[in-house]
Amino acid sequence: MPNYTLHVNGKQVVVSADEDTPLLWVLRDELDLVGTKFGCGIAQCGACTVHIDGVAARSCQMQVSILDGVKITTIEGLSKDGKHPVQEAWKEIDVPQCGYCQSGQIMTASAFLAENKRPSEKQIREAMHGNICRCASYNRIEKAVKVASEKMS
């Protein structure tokens, strides 16, 4: 299998994978970064959200062969100490129930807030609507994004 050099969470890593392997499975199976979750495999649920050069992207749809030269950030690399304002807000609001979708939610929220520091309620609801939470902790996710935006400004 070919080798690919990826830039993940501030480090260069070389992985051996078939060229059409989605980043999701490279992260989970090859790099042991299991915080990025598998939910649907067709970019509909957001559980696999990572940042590509700071932009939220669905890792289940990004083939490993097209990621040369981009900076990939996963939930494990969002902050050094788990204290990114979005993570802090998630803790403060006690968001998770089962917790499975939450790293994807956090990655979508953090990329969104980096672009839009003081979003309206409507903007938050639109920005987050691509991420499914089957436990429906949506009220808390919404509140936590708002609290995070206050922390960041």
Partner: protein
């Protein structure tokens, strides 16, 4: 409230203590049953045996407390709330408490069932007794040390003080405490003295969740593990005829392609009647690969030919069959009071309505998966399953092992909703590992989950009521369901006991589509049907819908009918609270309200939905909820459960649809199957009825009333009744939106 309640377990046999080899005191206890006589406590943490004790408390020499919780989370919050109850009676500072996942006994053990919104209800007394007993032992040890009467000592926040003002930390007396007799009749706290119960305690796994640590079954890895995907029939009623693996074997990373099914068929032939879901007898094609992606790609590259094994069923045919059941005579009476026929014959008016709901998949965010390593000596199973004991027994019988050889570890679960009560994916993992003689992780894709899974049965209700002199005098409810019917005490829920002539009947359509429990089984849709129907009755009677319920509840308040589980008084209090908090009938113009109330899983819930019209389309803005679940152990966790339950109920009532054509599921993934999303959610405002009753569960009861509240609000706004889920399909019909 009784504080010295006699329990049905012997305290002597449910709790044991020992001094740990590593220092500190270890208390083992069994929440549900007494421990076997003569069992020994482990002296080191590594050998905790959850067979005899299902939870442990360790108090270190420094006074730090670790609570080993053996039942991991499915998202319902018990990993936080159950330890809170122990810590309360033990009287320690919550900041000094760590909650650890129970360490495994690697020789052999299985764990308790997790599910049914019952953990807190059943655990309440035992958890309190355990904490209080441990505290009393520590106090007794201090009394011996000071040579004073234990009754003169006080203990609070991990510190024991005597009349002279001397103090000892719990850690100072753990060694002495461990060898004392386990005291009987310990005193439990008065509820007014609670300092931890009732506090807002954040989920104990929060740091791991927000930093993406390995927690779930899908995250589990082991040395030498390979990955497997399973090709199952694309339609119910089919079985494998032939297959070709040549293309799949060309996929890089694919190791081999095998067939399973033999072990399941042999197991089924053996006539063993363990609790499990109905198992398919077909052969299945399994792709074994070095990594997940190769396993997924390899499965796609398989070509298989399927043949008819049994009838290919369609939703259109189910619709006809269920209607025929409702209209037929072969129904089973579940409860009958008075004579409904006489009531209908003498009524001023008779109303009859029929309500329809589709099958629904569970769609846990974490797709089904399990790890198995079958060797000659033992079977190691790891993953998310709610019924590990049952799963272990079936695997043992299927593969011809003694159940003692099975070592099953539960991981945190990315949702359950009933799906993980069934162990089909555990059996598959075990059968595959036995065949390839390697450790393997079986992984379902979303499509696998949605199309080969277990479903909430498609159900219809027909309800008929007799109205006479402004009162509901007769009530006849018929249920027709695919797969199975309402069970247990459901026929004794509201309005049983409120209406003199009352009858509940059920009928069943046997299908080859596998159905099972789905969050709040049966009541999830029954509550919608009944609560919509009562709204309609209120309109007919020209009374306020809430007043109609309150009037009816008066009839059950002093009932001597032991079958009635719900409380007329508690339901009334719950309804009055939501009426006040939602400003029922006093909202501003353009806001339309719908009311619904339901008792299930031992908890009383009432909900009011507020909707507005936007371009003629109903938008749900807010749902106000009142809940009586007794004492609220952890308010933040409790509200989270109710908020999620309400939104889950609304989402499935409004948007989710599922059907079959010639046995083939018509929905495969989230591109055409709709789950509620954030931009569609109302704000859920939760209020708890304050009382000192023992706590009851919250994982399910918030869900059932939600659909009815929304349906009734839609009627208030548009003058149209919802009889069929999902509502979105009804609303799309032009006639509704003008």
């Amino acid at each position: 409230m009784k504080l010295h309640k006699k329990d049905n377990f012997s305290r002597r046999n449910f709790l044991k203590t020992t001094v740990l080899a590593s220092g500190g005191l270890l208390i083992g206890f069994n929440l549900l049953t007494a421990c076997k006589p003569g069992v020994k406590m482990p002296v080191d943490i590594a050998s905790l045996n959850f067979n005899d004790f299902n939870a442990f408390i360790q108090i270190s020499d420094e006074g730090y407390v670790t609570i080993f919780s053996p039942n991991p989370e499915i998202g319902q919050g018990v990993k936080t709330s159950m330890p809170m109850i122990i810590a309360e009676e033990l009287d320690v500072d919550w900041n000094n408490v760590t909650v650890a996942q129970g360490i495994l006994d690697t020789n052999n053990y299985t764990r308790q069932v997790a599910g049914g919104s019952q953990s807190i209800r059943f655990g309440w007394d035992a958890l309190r007794q355990t904490g209080a007993t441990a505290k009393q032992m520590l106090v007794n040890a201090a009394a011996v040390k000071w040579n004073v009467d234990a009754a003169t000592l006080k203990a609070s926040k991990g510190v024991i003080t005597n009349l002279n003002g001397d103090s000892l930390g719990y850690g100072d007396v753990v060694k002495e405490a461990a060898v004392l007799e386990v005291p009987e009749d310990v005193r439990l706290k008065e509820t007014k003295d609670f300092t931890i119960i009732g506090q807002e305690i954040v989920n104990v796994d929060i740091d791991k969740i927000i930093t993406g640590k390995s927690l779930f079954g899908l995250d589990y890895k082991a040395e030498g593990m390979v990955f497997a995907t399973v090709l199952r029939p694309p339609a119910f009623g089919q079985k494998l005829k032939t297959f070709t693996a040549s293309e799949a074997l060309k996929v890089k990373g694919v190791l081999e392609v095998i067939i399973i099914g033999d072990k399941v068929r042999k197991y089924l032939k053996s006539g063993k009647s363990n609790w499990t879901v109905k198992l398919s007898e077909t052969d299945k094609v399994v792709v074994i690969a070095e990594n997940t992606w190769a396993a997924i790609k390899g499965k796609k590259a398989l070509s298989a030919v399927w043949e008819v094994a049994s009838k290919a069923e369609s939703s259109a045919a189910h619709d006809v069959a269920l209607t025929a059941i409702l209209e037929g005579k072969n129904l089973n009476i579940k409860r009958e009071d008075g004579n409904v026929e006489t009531a209908f014959a003498s009524a001023d008016k008779v109303i009859e309505k029929t309500y329809h709901s589709p099958f629904l998949p569970h769609n846990c965010m974490e797709p089904m998966n399990f790890y198995a390593n079958v060797t000659a000596e033992k079977i190691h199973l790891v993953g998310p399953v709610q019924t590990p004991e049952y799963a272990a027994i079936v695997v043992a019988d299927m593969l011809g092992y003694d159940v003692e050889k099975i070592h099953l570890e539960m991981t945190r679960m990315g949702g359950g909703f009933g799906r993980r009560l069934y162990g089909d994916f555990v059996y598959e993992a075990a059968e595959i590992s036995a065949a390839i003689k390697k450790p393997v992780k079986v992984i379902s894709t979303r499509e696998d989950d949605m199309t080969t899974g277990i479903y909430k049965p498609s159900v219809k209700y027909r309800i008929k009521a007799a109205l006479k002199d402004g009162k509901v005098t007769g009530y006849h409810l018929k249920e027709a369901a695919v797969g199975s019917n309402m069970y247990g005490t459901i026929p004794n829920f509201f309005p049983a006991g409120c209406i003199p002539n009352y009858k509940v009947e059920t009928g069943n359509y046997k299908s080859n589509i596998t159905t099972g429990a789905w969050r709040a089984p049966y009541t999830n849709f029954l509550a919608f049907a009944e609560q919509s129907f009562f709204d309609e009755l209120a309109t007919e009677l020209n009374v306020d819908p809430i007043q109609l319920r309150l009037d009816l509840l008066q009839n059950v308040k002093n009932t001597d009918d032991k079958r009635i589980e719900y409380s007329g008084q508690r339901m009334e209090d719950t309804i009055k609270l939501v009426r006040e908090k939602a400003n029922w009938g006093k909202t501003k113009e353009g806001v339309y309200q719908g009311f619904s109330a339901y008792y299930s899983h031992n908890t009383h819930v009432a909900e009011i939905a507020d909707i507005v019209l936007k371009d003629g389309y109903p938008v749900i803005n807010k749902v106000t909820v009142a809940v009586d679940c007794g004492i609220v152990v952890n308010p933040t966790g409790a509200r989270n459960q109710v908020e999620g339950g309400v939104l889950d109920g609304i989402g499935h009532a409004m948007y989710s649809n599922f059907s079959f054509k010639e046995g083939k599921p018509q929905y495969q993934n989230f591109d055409n199957y709709r789950l509620i999303r954030m931009n569609e959610t109302p704000k859920v405002v939760v209020h708890f009825v304050e009382n000192n009753n023992s706590p009851t569960g919250l994982g399910e009861p918030g869900l059932p009333p939600a659909g009815g509240a929304v349906a009734n609000a839609i009627n208030a706004a548009l003058g149209k009744r919802m009889y069929r889920q999902p509502f979105v399909n009804e609303l799309k019909k032009k006639s509704l939106l003008g």
